[in-house]
Symmetry: D2
Subunit: 140 residues, 4 copies
């Protein structure tokens, strides 16, 4: 399992008339979180694209418990449970930084494609990095 | 069953570096579609809020088949299958207007709350309108 | 002078905690409006890019009089006053569809570049189309 | 003069088909920057609203020199030059964190209103905080 925690602060741009984060914004926070997670293990997504691969989202899901409000600091906890073969799944849970209260959960599933969007197998260097990281974490 | 089709045109604002609609934007299109669907059967969401009820999203889901591109005209087909009691589910499928090719599908589930976000039963006038519309459609 | 009127409807996605359209959203509406204006005179922006030119924004400006609210139908009036040489300026004024009340005004200025972002002169076919349209309008 | 520097990282959500930050996104970055600037001098915007005042944008302006790209770390330098009476102006300049290269500049002008959007004079405690901060900075 690979884990990563990404902090986000909520601004006016994120908030709707109900005074809470508009529901689609969390998917932007998810993107930030998975990008930083991959970077933290040595996978810079900009370089992944430079090397000819993309990870488009093929599934996105969210369940909302409580709305984050203006000025709130939230944490996007992100994890990869399984070593990907043809698809890569990230799971997210969003909590209040101060109280650790669970605000919402979600996941995204990604395919591997070439730059024209055609499906490819997971690039070897990505597989290697993920596998090494998974194994290290198992030993801990 | 209640059905509604809402056209959307894709602009630069919606498109990411891959040249396709960024994944969270479809949830904005879903919101447009369900708002117009409700309006089409006599439920103006602005008035729903004025009368003290909100329909916050408690679940959102999307599956992506093919990315819509800049300038593309797409249709958001929306439907409600079941008369809601405590939750209301909208199902969406997005197709290319020209070719009818399926681009993505999704759903959202909504709770009924008062203006402070506390759960309430479905307001009677909403239930009535939905029930009448469901029955009419059954007879057709 | 070239003129075009583009209707937009305001949804929850556009509205902030004050209950009015968040200030940056109008720039998305401006983009819709200028894209449709260009299309209306035979300039499909997707094809402009296919033919090797881009029109990146180099200046954006907005002045806000009154906030548009959820469910409101607004019109983005767009116009080009002068035949562009190296820069192209669009002026916008946003009014309520029902009352014609002025809500905000703005403008954007665009450069012509190649696909790598390097400045170029206005492509001839774009100049021709704009010139013809300007002349026709003068005669009217 | 009051100054503040706010870091932002560019993600896929911000980037358009040209591979650069979509022009309206900078206004969201501006909002983050001015919110953090105000907080840094003891003005929590959430509390400003709780105390009955709002600072809606009445003018927004941006000039774009070079586009920020995916993964780039940028700094939003923000400053207030003059003690506000009826309007408050923030000036922004956005630079690359690594190279300090100027990417774009802009400003926003804000009015003071009550919670119903009616113009008010600048609340005394806001004036005091800004005046003290301006004076301290003059002495430095």
């Amino acid at each position: 399992m690979i884990k990563y925690s990404h902090p986000v602060k909520v601004y006016y741009k994120d908030i709707d008339q109900m005074g809470i984060v508009y529901y689609s914004r969390y998917f932007e926070f998810f993107e930030e979180a998975r990008t930083e997670m991959l970077l933290s293990i040595g996978l810079d997504y900009a370089k992944v694209e430079d090397q000819g691969a993309m990870l488009p989202v093929i599934e996105a899901h969210a369940e909302y418990k409580k709305g984050a409000i203006f000025g709130q600091n939230i944490i996007i906890h992100t994890q990869i449970d399984e070593l990907p073969k043809v698809r890569m799944k990230f799971k997210y849970s969003v909590v209040s930084e101060n109280t650790d209260e669970l605000l919402m959960t979600g996941h995204t599933v990604h395919a591997f494609t070439d730059l024209k969007g055609r499906p490819i197998r997971i690039p070897k260097y990505i597989y290697s990095i993920l596998k090494d990281k998974m194994n290290v974490n198992k030993l801990l």
